[in-house]
């Protein structure tokens, strides 16, 4: 989305959403970044005010605003708590796209664009030739798998971060398209980059579980990234390409649900694909809507669709204490918090002990962790303390990105606590059977 026509449409949209913020400041209570820095530019109210300033006064310092917009975990704590119902994340995602697009514009085009905003009567005529400009600013995206995820994985530095798995998930398994078994259901499996490249064991646990319950699986060849790294850095061109690519892969075979074990992928497909699809053609929009409605977290599928329940356990046998971290993209974005806990309690080997602030952001925020490691780590430390104080031996969660951050924090503190995905815990109980 680097052409002016689209930028202008996005800005108009944005204006209507921006006025909803009444500057009450209640978001200061929940923003993890603000809690560390105390700077108004880091909290939703400040960022919204800056965007409002840009829209009203027409781009005084788009770069400065963009820099501040990037100091955000996109965790959604602010919108979940906002009395006015401001769609903060939608706004931030769109604003990143607009600002990145704008800054990529040639100075002459910038001037035209600015004129287009101040004088809406020119808007329509400009729309026409605006479309002719399409293509000029489109950066080539050669490697769908590489480009987007590269932002996520390149400068890992010397952190205590989980190394890339020696063998990626896509190298371990063959593409598959199995028939529904005893359950009568079939799922598409959206793997996601972090599981593919860092935690292939989670992918295996998913397949093992589906096999155990007689669920058919469609796993296409050359599956790709959901697009969030591109979108969150404002690159809607790469994002749209990835959405199209994924649609093409996953419409190749019929299935009942599209499942993921990555909270971020789930929330991206369910919320951001439709949000950004507004600019795509009607057919693609329909496909996006259909895909979004079929998508769910793996624990949601197992509990809501297969009816898996927690097991009542007898006596006080030897159990391992386990705590659970709610990924923002699952709880705040999609309201899924009960199902992963049910799944964990379906393994009789563990005792679930809740940590304090289980749904407080871990501080990962994708590329936020790379760009603002100090703030990210400070937020992560609080998560680590809560985990440690729960007295657990294992911490489970439902998002591999959170797992990266939590692993980093625990290992820096020298804690001997294992980090696992909820589906891995559940799959362990199947192995015992």
């Amino acid at each position: 989305m680097s052409d002016m026509k689209h930028l202008a449409i996005l800005i108009k949209d944005l204006e209507d959403q921006l006025v909803v913020c009444m500057r009450c400041g209640m978001c200061q209570a929940v923003c993890p970044v603000f809690a560390e820095t105390g700077r108004e530019a880091d909290v939703a109210r400040g960022k919204l005010a800056l965007l409002d300033g840009l829209v009203q006064e027409m781009f005084k310092d788009p770069k400065g605003v963009n820099d501040r917009l990037m100091r955000c975990l996109l965790c959604g704590s602010c919108s979940a708590n906002c009395p006015s119902g401001v769609k903060v994340l939608d706004i931030f995602i769109k604003a990143r796209a607009i600002l990145t697009g704008y800054m990529g514009l040639h100075p002459l085009k910038k001037a035209i664009f600015r004129g287009m905003l101040v004088r809406p009567e020119f808007f329509n005529s400009l729309m026409e030739w605006g479309s002719k400009l399409q293509g000029i600013f489109v950066k080539p995206v050669d490697d769908l798998l590489g480009t987007s995820c590269g932002r996520f994985f390149s400068p890992l530095g010397d952190r205590h971060i989980k190394a890339l798995a020696p063998v990626a998930f896509h190298q371990m398994v063959e593409p598959m398209n199995s028939r529904p078994g005893a359950s009568g259901l079939k799922v598409g499996f959206f793997v996601g980059c972090v599981i593919d490249k860092v935690f292939p064991g989670i992918g295996e646990a998913v397949l093992r579980t589906m096999d155990h319950h007689g669920v058919g699986v469609f796993l296409p060849e050359d599956f790709a990234c959901c697009g969030i790294p591109a979108l969150s850095s404002g690159d809607t061109v790469a994002f749209n390409k990835l959405v199209r690519y994924n649609l093409q892969r996953f419409t190749a075979q019929p299935f009942d649900f599209l499942i993921t074990a990555c909270a971020t992928c789930t929330s991206t497909i369910k919320k951001l694909w439709p949000l950004m699809a507004q600019d795509l053609d009607a057919e693609t929009q329909e496909q996006v809507a259909a895909m979004a409605s079929k998508t769910m977290d793996v624990s949601q599928f197992l509990v809501d669709k297969l009816g898996i329940r927690q097991v009542e356990t007898q006596g006080d046998e030897k159990k391992v204490n386990l705590t659970y971290h709610d990924p923002c993209h699952l709880k705040k974005s999609l309201g899924v918090a009960a199902q992963p806990r049910t799944l964990l309690q379906a393994n009789p080997g563990y005792r679930l002990v809740e940590m304090l602030e289980a749904d407080r952001c871990c501080g990962m925020g994708g590329s936020f962790n790379l760009q603002h490691y100090d703030i990210s780590a400070a937020i992560g430390k609080r998560k680590r303390e809560n985990i440690e104080q729960s007295g657990c031996e294992v911490v489970a969660t439902s998002c591999p990105a959170c797992m990266l951050q939590i692993t980093d924090m625990l290992s820096q503190a020298g804690d001997r606590i294992q980090v696992k995905h909820a589906i891995e815990i559940y799959a362990e109980s199947l192995a015992r059977k």
């Binding site: 006025v19 909803v20 009444m22 500057r23 009450c24 400041g25 209640m26 200061q28 209570a29 105390g38 700077r39 108004e40 530019a41 109210r45 400040g46 005010a49 800056l50 300033g53 005084k60 310092d61 400065g64 605003v65 820099d67 501040r68 009395p83 006015s84 119902g85």
Partner: protein, 458 residues
């Protein structure tokens, strides 16, 4: 300016001096629906000494200074003078002491109200003032606005809990007033002057707050009325029977419907009004009061009464009240929360007046608020971008003030005067009052640098 910035950087450290325009823009507004103004610098002291030095330096250089806590006030109190300095207190956020023997606490001004209340509660004590913004508001801001809350009827407002203050005068010198004792007549009652002064007379550094024992029992209920008058007469009857509930809240039909749309809490959408009532104290007393309130409500014609049987039901009652502002603010883009307050007995007249004003100016107004205190929040729902409607909104606000004053009321129960209402002040008081206040201000702040333009104009 350059030399001055160097000096500030020396006192505060480079990281705590924000010069960038983009950063400064985020300190140009607060929760009031007013135009923003850009400060020339934003400073974030991390110690008392630094705060005092900053105040002294601003005075020396004649720089207008606006202190900012959480920036949640609704009257423009933290919108700086263009080109002035904003001083943040959110790095001064230590609870210095909670004294369980003498029942007081000493805090820095940037401590968040709800965090303080929780720390106090953890020791079995109680700090009652609970403004709706308490999850983020600072105690310094509460004292400077004399903030109220839902418990004002029985427990009073912030002023009633300020035992002592240490504040910086305009030269950055420490002034002390009050004591940690229940009684104190040492010197002028400067605290009385400073509480509610909105940063115009001094900058709070250490605040000593009174604590009370936590009441052991409480009971909440919801009374439903088919007639607004019956509801407001019930308020008067409860007080006349010498029962002082902790909380006695009112919601009109528009607000009830908005809340129900928003939270589906099972509120009666065709009720004309609701009263939400809570009594507290010793268990026996609570039972007795609750029964009395219940039978009074019936006598006064309540259609039905729901008494909360347990903590969960009690939470439900208050959830409905807490949702009021959220629910209303979702109806239209701009929410103007007014605060006119009248003597309790005039509540029925005032509610009718607000309805008339809504009709006259063809506006949407939902009314809820602290009926027990006579403090209503008529909330105008509008879209500021619609200039024609906005003009009607401004006229309606004037009309609300006029009616409140005519009923012997006041411009603001708890949201402060700031810039939003300073031009109405003379209407309620007198020319002489303004001049008297300005003389005090001129004597204490000769260069007029402390939050200039607030309360008494310029």
């Amino acid at each position: 300016m350059k030399a001055l910035i160097k000096e500030f950087e020396g006192v505060l450290g480079k990281d705590n001096v924000f010069q960038d325009e983009t950063d400064r823009m985020t300190y140009s507004y607060d929760a009031a629906v007013l135009d923003p103004a850009l400060p020339s610098l934003v400073l974030r002291p991390t110690s008392s000494e630094a705060l005092g030095k900053v105040v002294g330096l601003c005075n020396e250089y004649g720089l207008p200074l606006t202190v900012r806590g959480a920036g949640t006030n609704l009257s423009g109190g933290t919108i700086p003078k263009a080109g002035g300095v904003v001083v943040l207190t959110n790095a001064l956020n230590r609870i210095i002491e909670i004294n369980e023997e003498d029942l007081y606490a000493v805090v820095e001004p940037g401590v968040v109200t709800a965090k303080f209340a929780a720390a106090v509660e953890a020791k079995g004590l109680f700090y009652p003032p609970d403004p709706g913004s308490q999850a983020v508001s600072t105690l310094g801001g509460n004292v400077a606005e004399n903030a109220g809350g839902l418990r004002g009827l029985r427990y009073g407002v912030t002023r009633d809990y300020v035992m002592a203050l240490e504040f910086f005068d305009v030269n950055g010198e420490v002034v002390k007033t009050g004591a940690r004792t229940v009684k104190c007549v040492t010197g002028y009652n400067l605290g009385g002057l400073l509480v509610g002064s909105e940063g115009t007379l001094g900058v709070f550094d250490k605040i000593t707050l009174k604590l009370i024992p936590m009441p052991p029992a409480r009971k909440a209920m919801m009374a439903i009325f088919d007639d607004i008058n019956k509801a407001s007469e019930t308020v008067a009857a409860i007080i006349a029977h010498r029962i002082v509930p902790v909380t006695l809240e009112f919601m009109d039909n528009f607000t009830i419907r908005a809340v129900e749309d928003f939270s589906h809490a099972g509120l009666p959408v065709d009720a004309a009004a609701l009263l939400l009532i809570e009594v507290d104290g010793h268990p026996v007393q609570v039972e007795e009061d609750a029964e009395k309130v219940e039978s009074l409500c019936r006598q006064m014609g309540a259609m039905s009464i729901r008494v909360a049987q347990d903590a969960a039901e009690r939470d439900k009652v208050w959830e409905a009240r807490r949702a009021a502002l959220s629910a209303l603010s979702r109806v239209k883009p701009t929410t103007v929360l007014e605060d006119a307050t009248v003597p309790r007995s005039k509540i029925p007249v005032m509610i009718r007046a607000i309805e008339e004003i809504a009709k006259e100016f063809n506006l949407t107004i939902g009314t809820f608020g602290h009926a027990g205190d006579g403090n209503l929040h008529p909330t105008i729902l509008t879209d500021r971008r619609n200039h024609e409607e906005w003009e009607r909104v401004e006229k309606a606000i004037d009309a609300i003030f006029d009616r409140a004053l005519a009923l012997g009321g006041t411009l603001s129960g708890e949201h402060g005067i700031g810039m939003a209402k300073s031009r109405f002040l003379e209407k309620e008081t007198s020319r002489a009052t303004i001049l008297y206040s300005r003389r005090i201000k001129a004597a204490l702040d000769p260069k007029n640098i402390l939050n200039p333009g607030k309360i008494i104009g310029e």
